[in-house]
Amino acid sequence: MSSGPSTPAVSMGRPGVAISPGDHICAFYRGTEQRDEVLVPFLREGILAGDKCICVMDDPDTERVTGSLSQSLDVERSMRTGQFDLMCSDLAYLPGGCFEVDSMLDFWERGVGTAVHTSGFTFVRAVGEMTWALRDLPGVEHLVSYEARLNRFLPRYPQVVLCLYDLERFTDGQVLMELLRTHPKVLLSGQLLENPWYVEPDDALTVA
């Protein structure tokens, strides 16, 4: 989970908001515009800091994000050099048309592990746009379990994971509460908060 007090803060790209290595953040927003207000600075700060950035998007309009990024940095170069991976949710979360928690955790293990051990990145920023979980596909009901188990993976590498949840799409309040319980930090209305609703993975998995 979160690192100790001595761990240097990581820039979120938003004034007054600093994250720490090991953070697993649940970002709630309304609509694409608000999503980009969180996503684009997060990636820009990472690329500029020399971090490995892995972004999995459910929105097919990825040019919206790369276009915004290219206003302040050379996106193509960062993608070409392997610093920035941008991929669609079908390939990452839903290979073969279904969601499997173990496969997904392996995906992150491979992606983050390779970045750190092979490519030599000292820090990794992973971000996932989670609206894929609303599709009527096998396995998506394990979303909460996945989010809980991801907390065990976080301490293994110097990394931050940002999960993007659109409140206009995730309308079920009960599901929102469950998601709240699986993220140690929550980003709401531009504020990053220690999440008092957070439940340790073992407890959360018992409930889920």
Binding site: G173, L176, L188
Partner: protein, 567 residues
């Protein structure tokens, strides 16, 4: 209890839970719907206190627990204890906010929760109420924004339509004042719509075309179908779609003067095109009404001029009218009286036939209708028989005959020439000549008789020679004078006379025998025959001079009956 009272003993656990509430409140504020907010609240309750949610009752929403709803109706908006089956403790917390009361969060437990727990439940309910108020305000704002956006959209549409309408109006008004006529109107509507435009008269004849693919020959509906189409178009409030065309009528005061149509087989015309067509129809109606008014004025001036000339007018006035018509009245003229009919008797059709024939021949352009007759002021020496044939052609059959007066060298001569033409026309009838054009100049002995100043001498001459026969005819309704006239005009030939009278040869012989008996004259004597023929012609002349115009008898109608004198 309406105010949130903070318990005195705020422990660290409670502070942590307050932070939970803060996060939850923020999440509720960001929520997109009331259901989402209420589900968040309901899911959070067990984490805040040892109790469960019985129901969230919303004001104005149907209740799943009617008994509870009834209790809440009786309770104050501030909430309070309620009764729930098998639960010793149950409480309704108000979902309130400064902007209104939204309902109650009803929770129940085996045991009464601690003060801290109750404080948290009350705080949750208040937070939920605030989020609901916020949500409703947001929804209201969105609805207002959406409505404003719709109003703006409609306004933009109206302004756009108005601008297009002004453009159409300006373009067509420019055409109307420029005097470009039907061609200009068709061209303007074509430019405004991009579609081919046709202008037809009320009968379906093409009068103007603008745009590509002009059909040749131009198709024309049968008259009955055309009339049906015009009736339907008159009833239609907007342009009528007929096949691949959209048509609008130019009908000032309900009188259809013309039709303007858009050729639109693909049905591409929208509101803009319809508007252009309607404006075009209005301008066309104005144009056609103007043209018709001009034509009617000219016709009236012509009619007045002819009337004045025939009845006698001062030269100055007549010349002034003629100048207004750009007509040279100081050429020699003849007055013609033309009488006849087509297969059906239609005075208007006969007038039009004479007008067209006179224009084509050419024989003249000043003419008026006088009852069944048409009076033409001929401005040249035409072949009058050719003119008569032209009238017959225009009529498509029927009959026509013409009386032609003498030349008018001066304006004062018109009344005399008119009288001569009428007289020639009457002689055609009284002398039973075949239909023809008769010039007064060619009337021979008739002209001599007419010119005789002493008609009394002529009448005495008639009485002397055929007086007994006239008396006999009158008393017996016989036909002896007519018989004698035909006999003498045909040189005493029996066959020709019998054929002209349409009687049997024996009837003719019988009548001639009666004539010999009554007059005591010898019809073989040339001197006698000359005087009798002169007397019959004088009698025709007197009849023509004294009679009013009589209707033209149908051919073959005379000479029938049982009386042998009339056979």
């Amino acid at each position: 209890m309406t105010e949130l009272e903070i318990p005195h003993q705020l422990g660290r656990g409670l502070l942590s839970t307050m932070r939970s509430l803060l996060v939850l409140g923020q999440l509720m504020t960001e929520s997109t719907g009331e259901r989402q907010i209420l589900e968040l609240a309901a899911t959070a309750v067990p984490a805040l206190a040892h109790c469960r949610v019985v129901s969230i009752e919303r004001v104005g929403a149907p209740s799943q627990t009617p008994e509870l709803a009834a209790q809440l109706e009786r309770a104050t908006p501030g909430g309070g204890a309620v009764e729930v089956v098998d639960r010793p403790w149950a409480w309704a917390y108000p979902l309130g906010s400064p902007s209104g009361h939204f309902g109650h969060l009803v929770v129940a437990a085996e045991h009464e929760p601690t003060n801290e727990e109750q404080f948290l439940l009350r705080a949750l309910a208040q937070q939920t109420g605030a989020a609901l108020a916020n949500q409703r305000l947001h929804a209201q704002e969105q609805a207002t924004a959406s409505e404003l956006s719709l109003v703006n959209e409609r306004l933009r549409g109206t302004v756009g339509a108005l601008e297009r309408s002004m453009e159409i109006h300006a373009r067509l008004t420019a055409v109307a004042v420029s005097g470009e006529g039907r061609d200009g109107i068709a061209r303007a509507v074509h430019e405004l719509t991009g579609l081919p435009v046709a202008i037809e008269d009320r009968y379906g004849n093409l009068r103007a075309w603008a745009g590509p693919n002009r059909p040749d020959p131009y198709p024309k509906d049968p008259a009955s179908r055309r009339e049906q189409l015009l009736r339907r178009a008159l009833k239609s409030p907007r342009p009528l779609r007929e096949g691949g065309n959209l048509l609008a009528l130019a009908h000032p005061q309900g009188d259809v003067l013309g039709v303007i149509l858009l050729v639109d087989p693909a049905g591409a015309a929208g509101e803009h095109e319809l508007m252009a067509l309607e404006h075009g129809a209005t301008i066309l109606a104005m144009e056609l009404a103007r043209v018709r008014s001009l034509a009617e004025s000219e016709l009236r001036i012509r009619r007045d001029l002819v009337d004045e000339l025939l009845t006698g007018t001062d030269e100055e006035s007549a010349l002034a009218r003629a100048t207004a018509l750009d007509y040279d009245l100081q050429r020699p003229h003849r007055v013609l009286v033309i009488e006849g009919h087509g297969r059906t008797k239609d005075n208007d059709a006969f007038f039009q036939a004479v007008r067209h024939a006179a224009r084509e021949e050419p024989a003249g352009t000043l003419l008026v209708a006088r009852g069944a007759q048409v009076v033409l002021l001929a401005d040249c020496e035409a072949d009058w028989e050719s003119l008569r044939n032209a009238v017959m052609r225009e009529l498509g059959g029927g009959r026509a005959r013409i009386g032609v007066g003498e030349r008018c060298e001066r304006i004062a001569d018109f009344p005399r020439s008119y009288g001569q033409a009428r007289l020639a026309m009457r002689l055609l009838a009284t002398a039973e000549w075949d239909d023809r054009a008769v010039r007064f100049d060619d009337l021979g002995v008739y002209r001599l008789l007419i010119g005789n100043e002493s008609l009394g001498e002529v009448e005495r001459f008639v009485q002397q020679w055929i007086g007994p026969l006239l008396a006999y005819d009158q008393q017996r309704s016989a036909d002896l004078v007519r018989t004698l006239s035909h006999y003498l005009d045909r040189g005493g030939k029996y066959e020709a006379t019998a054929a002209a009278l349409i009687v049997h040869r024996n009837t003719l012989k019988y009548r001639l025998q009666r004539i010999r008996q009554i007059t005591g004259l010898d019809l073989s004597d040339p001197e006698v025959c000359f005087n009798l023929q002169l007397a019959t012609r004088a009698w025709h002349t007197l009849t023509a001079l004294h009679s009013t115009p009589w209707p033209m008898p149908e051919k073959g109608s005379s000479g029938s009956g049982d009386d042998p004198d009339r056979r």
